[in-house]
């Protein structure tokens, strides 16, 4: 029967072009949607690498502060002490402006063992930054006061960056960077990957370096982990205190709200894409339904004949569904040929697994769509009365 159906489809290839094109276009659209969704889902399920709850970001303008490094250091030490004395504060840390969800980026690059690493996020952080974000170390240690006298600049990197440079080997204690020995960075710790730009954005390579007297002037944010008891009245008190200390306006943002805003930047376009694709799929489904319905009406005589020469109602409806599935298979194979180019050519620098999952989901979706659209016309074909069909034709 399959050979017979293939022959019938091949001989009617011109009439089937519309059906084939509809399925092919749907497959490619669905493949794009599933690639998009799989990519974001895979990022979403990865651990965040830090805890954003009850973290407030206080941004300030440091222009009014002393330009002298020592005076500035004393000022920040005193500010730190005064804030820590507040019972609502659990931990505080100064930071460069590129803290998680801040929409501010600082990156650097280095060459290690002849291999170039670009776009490494560079976070300049205070000594209690780990406590503020509850960052887990998987190797080595966090910054300590002794680091200030080290001849190499200490850094803490993330797990993926460590693996890209040294595989599974222990990284803490290694010097990196193809510079002369003094300028090399010393890795003192490795932390879990850190999704600083939102739940759906992958964690990129990063390094934490310590804010010291030489770069303290670049600090523009104070990150505070507050206790559960801290509410609006404390926020108001903190605002007044900071504004007085900094001699300028400050802005207090809750990081959980910043996270929601960052996630919306991904979710809203994703929803729009899904809605547009959904409408397209509905149109395609209606189109398929229409094409199949039209074919059945056009083939009433053939259906009547098949019933007369020995086809049961079930075999007629099965034939209609099988024909649709064979046509869908042809389109899906062509679609897969195009889809497979994405992992092969490493398009958009996305992991091959994302595309392969998307191909699999698209194939399943198309077959489900075709079966759903052909079942009812198939049943209608089976219900055609042979005597009437043969007489009409």
């Amino acid at each position: 029967m399959y050979k017979h159906l293939f022959k019938l489809i091949w001989n009617k290839r011109k009439q089937n072009i519309l059906f084939l094109s509809e399925i092919l276009i749907s497959f490619l659209v669905v493949f794009a949607v599933f690639s998009y969704l799989t990519y974001y889902y895979k990022n979403y399920i990865k651990p965040l690498g830090f805890d954003y709850d009850r973290v407030w970001a206080v941004s300030y303008n440091s222009d009014q502060l002393s330009k002298n490094a020592d005076s500035l250091n004393i000022f920040y030490t005193n500010l730190n002490k005064a804030l820590k004395a507040m019972p609502e504060i659990e931990a505080i840390s100064f930071s460069s402006s590129n803290y998680p969800y801040s929409s501010s980026f600082m990156s650097t690059g280095l060459t290690q063992g002849g291999k170039k690493f670009n776009q490494i996020s560079d976070f300049n952080v205070g000594s209690d930054y780990q406590k503020v974000w509850n960052i887990k170390l998987i190797d080595g240690r966090w910054f300590s006061p002794e680091d200030l006298i080290s001849k190499n600049k200490e850094i803490i990197i993330n797990e993926t960056f460590s693996k890209e440079m040294f595989g599974t080997a222990k990284t803490a204690g290694k010097l990196i960077g193809d510079f002369d020995d003094k300028r090399k960075f010393k890795i003192i710790g490795v932390v879990n990957d850190f999704k600083a730009n939102g739940d759906f954005v992958p964690a990129n390579n990063l390094m934490f370096s310590r804010l010291d007297t030489t770069n303290l002037k670049w600090a523009s944010t104070l990150l505070i982990r507050v206790r559960e008891t801290a509410g609006a009245s404390f926020e108001s008190k903190l605002y007044k205190f900071m504004a007085t200390m900094m001699r300028s306006a400050v802005e207090i943002q809750h990081v959980d709200e910043m996270r929601d805003a960052r996630n919306k930047e991904t979710i809203i376009p994703m929803l729009l894409f899904i809605i547009v694709a959904g409408f397209l799929i509905i149109n395609v489904a209606l189109g398929l339904f229409g094409v199949l319905w039209y074919n059945i009406n056009k083939r009433k005589g053939e259906i009547g004949l098949r019933r007369a020469i020995g086809a049961s109602g079930i075999s007629v409806s099965t034939q209609m569904v099988l024909e649709s599935l064979i046509l869908a298979t042809i389109s899906v194979l062509i679609g897969c040929f195009f889809a497979v180019q994405f992992p092969l050519l490493n398009v958009f620098d996305v992991a091959s697994g994302v595309y392969l999952i998307a191909i699999l989901l698209s194939v399943l979706f198309i077959y489900t769509l075709v079966i759903a659209c052909s079942l009812y016309p198939g049943r209608q074909a089976a219900a055609i009365h042979p005597a009437i069909a043969l007489h009409e034709d």
Binding site: K12, G301, L305, A308, A311, P386
Partner: protein
């Protein structure tokens, strides 16, 4: 072979009831060649459809090969049609997208025959109707007479005991019509196939063993 007892067929719409067949009793013996004649709309094709199990009578009993087919399921009925009956239609009902050989093989597709067996039987059937040199042609490349011969080959490929022909010469000129008639007569004579033929052509009807005339759904001869 075919026994019709008090067969009635009524077509009903919301407002009108049309009696298409009125109490027909007919016994057709094995190996008989019977023709049915009558004016248009007298119920000839309806009667043939009932004999071919393509339509159900409103009343009455029908037995084919001593089997009461009214209790058959759809699948059993389809198998019965496939094995026992062959159909020839005035408008041939060939599938234009399939080659002649594939058209003739069609009934065997519903029998789980192997591809080799199907091809052998279809080629043999086409040889019988003198079309062994047209296997790879499409129906649209054939004349009306050739198309009807393909339809006959399709009707006989499964070696049915009964052939039901609905005006098989209706679309053909007299020479072609006579050729088709010759093939049917030979089938009846040589293979012992029971043939029931609906026709408008008196001369064709007189070539058969028995003539049944219908008028307004009733048997008048």
């Amino acid at each position: 072979m075919i026994r019709l007892k008090n067969i009635e067929k009524v077509y009903r719409t919301a407002t009108v009831e049309t009696l298409a067949i009125n109490r027909i009793n007919l016994d057709i013996a094995r190996g008989e060649f019977l023709s049915i004649m009558g004016p248009s709309g007298c119920g000839k094709s309806t009667l043939l459809n009932i004999m071919g199990l393509l339509d159900e009578p409103s009343k009455g009993d029908i037995k084919i090969d001593d089997q009461d087919i009214r209790s058959f399921s759809d699948k059993k009925l389809a198998n019965f049609r496939n094995e026992k009956l062959g159909f020839i239609f005035q408008s041939y009902h060939l599938i234009n997208d399939l080659q002649v050989l594939d058209n003739v093989e069609l009934p065997l597709l519903y029998r789980n025959s192997s591809a080799k067996e199907r091809k052998a039987l279809a080629t043999e059937a086409l040889e019988k109707v003198g079309l062994s040199n047209r296997l790879k042609h499409f129906p649209t490349q054939l004349s009306g007479g050739q198309r009807q011969r393909v339809a006959i080959a399709r009707a006989i490929v499964g070696r049915p005991q009964i052939i039901l022909a609905d005006e098989p010469t209706g679309n053909l000129d007299s020479a072609m019509g006579n050729e088709i008639m010759e093939i049917l007569i030979n089938l009846n004579k040589n293979e012992g196939t029971t043939i029931v033929m609906v026709t408008h052509d008196e001369s064709m009807a007189h070539k058969t063993h028995r003539l049944v005339r219908l008028f307004d759904g009733s048997q008048v001869q």
